[in-house]
C-alpha cells in the first residue's frame, strides 16, 4: 500500500455556531483519484479548503506530505491546486497576465503544457477573463491547474457548466496529465457515474460526517443484494419467515439488501424455502442511496446517478 499524501485526523469545523464538519478522519493515498461525494451543504468544499490550509479547523489535524498545516501554509500550497466554482481569477486580467502571475508563483510551472492546453481549449492569451463564459473560465482554471504541476489537484465539480463534448475533452486532458505526473486528485462531483469512471477511491460526506471512505471496489461491497426465487411466491408462511428482512417482492423473486457479508441473509432466504439464491453486487449509486437512506435522507427528486 502506498503512503498517504493527505492525512486528516479528528477534524471539527464550525461556522458561526453551526457544525459543518464533525470528527472527520480521512487519508488520501498518494497517486489515487479520490472521489468525494455528498449532497449540497454536506461540507465537501469546506473539507477541501481545510486541506488547502485556508480554513482552520476548530480542532483536529491536517497534514500534507507528512507536514501538519499551520496558520500560514503557502509552502504546502505550492503542491496543491484547487479548482472550484468561486474562482480566484481576476476579471480585469487578460489570460496571459494571469498566467504570468501563476508562472511567477508555482515553482513547477510547465509553460509548454500551458500553451498546449490553451490551444486545446481554443483560448486566446489576449482575452479578458471577465469576458469569458462560465464554462470557458472553468477550462482556463483547469489549464492553469494542470500547468502548475501540483502533487495534489482538488477539482470541485470541475465539469459543471460544460457541455458533453467539452466535458469529455476536459476529463481526458486531466487524465493525461494526471497519468503523466502521477498526480493525486480529489474529485468532487455529484455525478456518481463520473466518480465510478474516474476514481479508484471514494468517500461520502453527509451533514458533515464521513459515512464511508475507501477503494471504490471495497465500498461497492458494503452492500450486497440477495435475491431468492420462491416457487410458491409470497405466501404468508414465506412472508412470516422473512419478517426481519422485509424484502421487496417482484413476482416470485424476493430481494433484500445486506450490509457487510451476505451470508446471514442467504441463510435466511434458504431456510424460508428459496429454490435458489443469488448474491448480486450493487453499483455505487445504489450503495450511496442505501447509506443516505440509513441516515434518514430522503428527497422526492432523488434518483440514482446524481445527488
Amino acid at each position: 500500500m502506498t503512503s498517504s499524501l493527505v492525512t486528516v485526523e479528528n477534524l471539527d469545523k464550525t461556522f458561526r455556531g453551526q457544525k459543518v464538519l464533525t470528527r472527520i478522519d480521512w487519508a488520501i493515498p498518494e497517486g489515487s483519484i479520490y472521489g468525494l461525494i455528498g449532497s449540497n451543504g454536506s461540507g465537501k468544499t469546506t473539507l477541501c479548503r481545510l486541506i488547502l490550509g485556508i480554513l482552520w479547523p476548530d480542532s483536529g489535524l491536517v497534514a500534507v506530505g507528512g507536514v501538519p498545516l499551520t496558520l500560514e501554509s503557502g509552502r504546502a500550497r505550492q503542491q496543491m491546486y484547487y479548482v472550484g466554482a468561486d474562482s480566484r481569477l481576476g476579471p480585469g486580467f487578460r489570460i496571459a497576465e494571469w498566467a504570468r502571475y501563476e508562472e511567477l508563483m508555482y515553482e513547477q510551472w510547465n509553460a509548454a503544457r500551458f500553451q498546449k492546453l490553451l490551444k486545446a481549449f481554443e483560448l486566446e492569451p489576449s482575452q479578458r477573463i471577465g469576458e469569458l463564459s462560465y464554462g470557458t473560465k472553468t477550462q482556463l482554471q483547469i489549464a492553469l491547474a494542470l500547468s502548475a504541476s501540483p502533487k495534489l489537484l482538488i477539482l470541485d465539480e470541475p465539469t459543471n457548466g460544460l457541455d458533453l463534448v467539452v466535458k469529455r475533452q476536459v476529463l481526458q486532458l486531466i487524465l493525461d496529465v494526471v497519468s503523466e505526473d502521477h498526480t493525486t486528485v480529489i474529485f468532487i462531483s455529484h455525478l456518481i457515474e463520473d466518480v465510478e469512471r474516474l476514481c479508484d477511491q471514494v468517500a461520502l460526506l453527509h451533514r458533515g460526517q464521513m459515512l464511508i471512505d475507501g477503494p471504490v471496489d471495497t465500498v461497492k461491497k458494503t452492500f450486497t443484494r440477495v435475491q431468492g426465487f420462491f416457487p410458491e411466491g409470497a405466501t404468508p408462511r414465506v412472508k412470516d419467515s422473512l419478517r426481519e428482512v422485509s424484502p421487496e417482492w417482484s413476482g416470485r423473486m424476493a430481494a433484500g439488501v445486506a450490509r457487510g457479508t451476505p451470508d446471514g441473509l442467504v441463510e435466511q432466504f434458504r431456510s424460508a424455502g428459496a429454490l435458489y439464491v443469488d448474491v448480486v453486487d450493487m453499483d455505487l449509486a445504489e450503495v450511496v442511496r442505501r447509506l443516505l437512506e440509513a441516515e434518514g435522507y430522503k428527497r422526492e427528486t432523488f434518483h440514482a446517478g446524481t445527488l
Binding site: Q172, E196, D200
Partner: protein, 133 residues
C-alpha cells in the same frame, strides 16, 4: 477501443476491461504480437482511472493474455498452454449449468437451448471471419 465499459455495472471496471480485451483476442480483433495502447493512452481514450487500467493490465499479464516489454509497450501474448486449465473448465461447467437453470425457468427445452447455442456460435464465427480478413 473495440469494447465499452459500463461504470454503473456492478462488475468492477478493471474486470470489464479484462473481459473486453480477452473478448477482443477471442474474436480476433487483436492478434498475438499486436500492440495495445499504454495505460495512459487507454485511460485517456476511455476516460477511465489510470490506476484501474494498470490493475487490469497487471491481471491480464498474470493471465498471460498480454506481455509487457519494458520500454517498448504492451503486446498481445502468443497463445500458449493455460496453466489452470482444469480449474477453468470447471468454471465453464458451472456457467453451462446456470444456463440450463435459466432455460428451465423460461420453459425452454434442452433442444431449443442447443439450437440457440449453435446459432450464437455460428454468428460468432462469422464475426471472427470478418476480423481475420
Amino acid at each position: 477501443m473495440w469494447f465499452r465499459v459500463n461504470p454503473q455495472s456492478s462488475v468492477p471496471i478493471y474486470q470489464q476491461v479484462i473481459q473486453g480485451i480477452r473478448q477482443g483476442v477471442a474474436q480476433g480483433v487483436v492478434q498475438a504480437g499486436d500492440r495495445l495502447p499504454s495505460v495512459r493512452d487507454l485511460a485517456v481514450e476511455m476516460t477511465l482511472n489510470p490506476n484501474t487500467i494498470a490493475k487490469a493490465y497487471r491481471e491480464l499479464e498474470r493471465q498471460r493474455v498480454i506481455t509487457v516489454i519494458q520500454g517498448r509497450g504492451t503486446y498481445i501474448a502468443d497463445l500458449e498452454s493455460v496453466p489452470d486449465r482444469a480449474q477453468r473448465i470447471g468454471l465453464m461447467v458451472e456457467a453451462i449449468q446456470q444456463l440450463l437453470v435459466e432455460a428451465h425457468h423460461m420453459q425452454m427445452t434442452v433442444d431449443e437451448l442447443r439450437e440457440l447455442f449453435h446459432s450464437v456460435v455460428s454468428e460468432w464465427e462469422r464475426a471472427k471471419g470478418r476480423n481475420d480478413q
